[in-house]
């Protein structure tokens, strides 16, 4: 099936009343996740997985995907109005967006961010459609090539997450270790289960993610007194003609940049938005005004993070490699529904793959409509004090963890990983690599052992595959070459090092 035929099939799936409803619900919940500080997209998506248990696979994935890209829209609102990013990739928007709010131009900032996000998001989805034929290439991959691909994915994730590669690699290996708990993927013998029946199927990834990101965040916030949130008044929602003119090129540059960086596994949404900000400042005729409420400082980064969020689905759909923690959560949701993301998804379940892609077009339109007129309603949610919000988040996390297997064991697992996540934050170990490798670990081990079984234990099999050698070579390059420091996004890495969520 060609891409156009696939997309038509996708729209026929996505436009059913049921799937439209779930896309809308996902957009609303995603915007809310983005709006509410203290609940990032990874924890937010994991938290809402239990709501999809009774849904058909396509509807479930459509809703969860919408939560992710919806959160990118929502994060802007808090950045502009209260100078607190709802999620990490909107942090840079605080610089000029908040100043615009102080100058009485909050409405224009939010509107231009919504328009930019729509353009970036929609073009990102078009890229996903264009990339679909890549799956034909990926179908040639055997266990040897998959090991190479996963090693490259892991090194990219570790090389680009956080400020220290050593710590990011430690986080990645921690995730791989967690992935070894349970029945071993080749022989089925139990490992690290300590006679606990609940661990035979492995550690529940939903509990781990909710613990690391959700409970860990609540514990971190509990260190400080919870202060009431002060918001600026919304005035003048529509941007002026000059605003639109000034934002035109930043939106186009943000789209290209976010899309390109979103393709790279491990590159965070904050890297895209911060790099976009740096580029806009460098290209501006009045760089000295950046930081005083310049609309280009909002348009570029907000476009970039949405293009990034949509492009991040490309490695997942074409190769089965999640590019970020939130996409890894989505990959877990695919697997819970008996679907394996990657080239075979287009072959075996084209309705699901294309249905989800088509729903993203629709979702981006929904978000544009939701964000502009309903911004006043989102602001109301900001007035919920954190002392109330944290309790509601905790209740949903307890419910979410229990619902996975109807077991209190998962509540304790979540709690344990909440403490681990809190401690990892304290010593600056990024969380995202651990989540990615927790999902990928069993697949990686399975393919590694299958490859070595094919060669009867001879590691030389990896040298015989040119594709695998190229992938290993690239992985080595990422590990040893500090040359990335010369690229513009290396600066963004130091800004966005704390982005553990995306």
């Amino acid at each position: 099936m060609d891409a156009f035929g696939g997309l038509l099939l996708g729209f026929s799936v996505a436009l059913t009343p049921q799937n439209l409803l779930f896309a809308l619900l996902g957009c609303i919940m995603g915007t809310l996740v983005g709006v509410l500080p203290g609940l990032g997209p990874s924890a937010g998506t994991a938290l809402l997985i239990p709501l999809t248990f009774n849904l058909p696979a396509t509807s479930a994935i459509i809703m969860l995907a919408a939560i992710y890209y919806g959160s990118q829209y929502g994060g802007t609102i808090t950045s502009v109005l209260i100078n607190v990013p709802g999620e990490a990739s909107s942090a840079v928007t605080c610089i000029d967006g908040y100043q615009m709010a102080k100058n009485g131009r909050a409405g224009a900032a939010i509107a231009i961010a919504a328009i930019g996000s729509f353009v970036g998001g929609t073009i990102g989805v078009m890229g996903l459609v264009a990339a679909a034929p890549l799956t034909q290439f990926a179908l040639q991959f055997g266990p040897v090539e998959f090991v190479g691909l996963m090693v490259l994915g892991l090194t990219l994730v570790s090389g680009l997450a956080g400020k220290s590669m050593v710590k990011a690699l430690m986080s990645a290996i921690f995730g791989l270790m967690l992935g070894t708990v349970g029945m071993d993927p080749a022989q089925g013998s139990p490992r690290f289960t300590f006679d606990q029946v609940q661990l035979l199927d492995g550690i529940g990834f939903i509990s781990v993610i909710m613990g690391l990101f959700g409970v860990g965040e609540v514990l971190t916030n509990a260190e400080e007194e919870w202060k009431p949130i002060i918001t600026h008044k919304m005035t003048g929602l529509m941007p002026t003609l000059k605003d639109l003119k000034d934002s035109f090129w930043p939106i186009l540059r943000g789209t290209a940049l976010g899309f390109a960086l979103g393709l790279v596994p491990g590159m965070t949404g904050s890297a895209s938005s911060f790099t976009s900000y740096i580029i806009e400042k460098r290209m501006s005729k009045y760089p000295e005004k950046f930081g005083t409420g310049v609309i280009e400082g909002v348009a570029g980064p907000e476009t970039a993070n949405n293009a990034h969020a949509n492009a991040a689905y490309i490695p997942l759909f074409t190769l089965g490699i999640p590019g970020s923690a939130t996409v890894a959560v989505l990959m877990g949701a695919f697997m819970m529904n008996g679907l394996i993301p990657g080239p075979f998804l287009f072959k075996e379940h084209p309705d699901v793959a294309w249905g989800v892609i088509a729903s993203m077009y629709i979702g981006n339109v929904m978000l544009l409509i939701l964000n502009l007129p309903l911004v006043g309603i989102w602001v109301k949610f900001l007035q919920i004090p954190y002392s109330v919000l944290f309790a509601i988040i905790m209740a949903f996390m307890v419910v979410g963890a229990y619902s996975v297997d109807n077991s209190v064991f998962d509540i304790w697992t979540m709690l344990l990983f909440g403490i681990v996540g809190y401690l990892m934050r304290k010593v600056d170990i990024p969380l995202a690599p651990a989540v990615l490798t927790l999902i990928l670990g069993p697949l990686m081990e399975k393919n590694l052992r299958r490859a070595l079984e094919m060669s009867q234990g001879d590691f030389g099999i990896f040298r015989e595959s040119p594709i695998a050698m190229v992938l290993f070579g690239l992985a080595l390059l990422v590990l040893i070459a500090p040359m990335l420091k010369f690229l513009p996004f290396a600066k963004a890495r130091s800004f966005g090092g704390g982005d553990t969520q995306t």
Binding site: F53, V166, M170, L176, R191, V215, M414, L415
Partner: protein
């Protein structure tokens, strides 16, 4: 602050050695190739090496600048411990007391005990997040939350 990070790296080294030891209990190699112990063993090795590198990095270049304190304020520690213990107790008592009752008590504790939230608001949120969620999940999402095994609570339908 540097000392805290060094202690963390040493704890991770100990953990890695434990992983290697545990992996050693499983078959390392079979006639077909790697066994169940192969992958975790090497993960333990890599983790130990990385932790050692981190330790050495800290020795060579101690953390600079105004690093945040590792331990929060006394009030912060109390709040953190209260959240941890309360979630643990929810898990411990959920199957005996029942989902609705334990969640109601949990929410009262979080909202009034920690959040100092207005009692009326607390009551509304606590009822929604306990009995409301029970109703939603059992009726519409097919998640059978535990009911109380305590006589009088069970008779009341909790």
């Amino acid at each position: 602050m540097t000392r805290v990070h060094q202690v963390a790296s040493l704890i991770i080294i100990v953990f890695s050695v434990w992983v290697m030891y545990m992996a050693h209990q499983y078959t390392y190699w079979t006639a077909l190739g790697p066994g169940p112990g192969f992958f975790p063993f090497w993960l333990g090795v890599f983790m130990a090496v990385l932790s050692a590198i981190w330790f050495v990095q800290l020795m060579m270049k101690p953390l600079e600048g105004k690093a945040i304190e590792f331990l929060p304020s006394r009030a912060g520690i109390v709040r953190i411990l209260a959240i941890i213990i309360s979630v643990f107790l929810v898990g411990l008592f959920m199957e005996d007391v029942g989902f609705s009752v334990i969640m109601f008590v949990f929410m009262l504790f979080l909202l009034i005990g920690l959040g100092r939230v207005n009692p009326v608001v607390t009551l509304v949120i606590a009822l929604t997040c306990s009995f409301g969620l029970y109703w939603l999940f059992t009726n519409y999402l097919d998640v059978p939350f535990p009911e109380s095994s305590i006589g009088f609570l069970k008779n009341l339908g909790f």
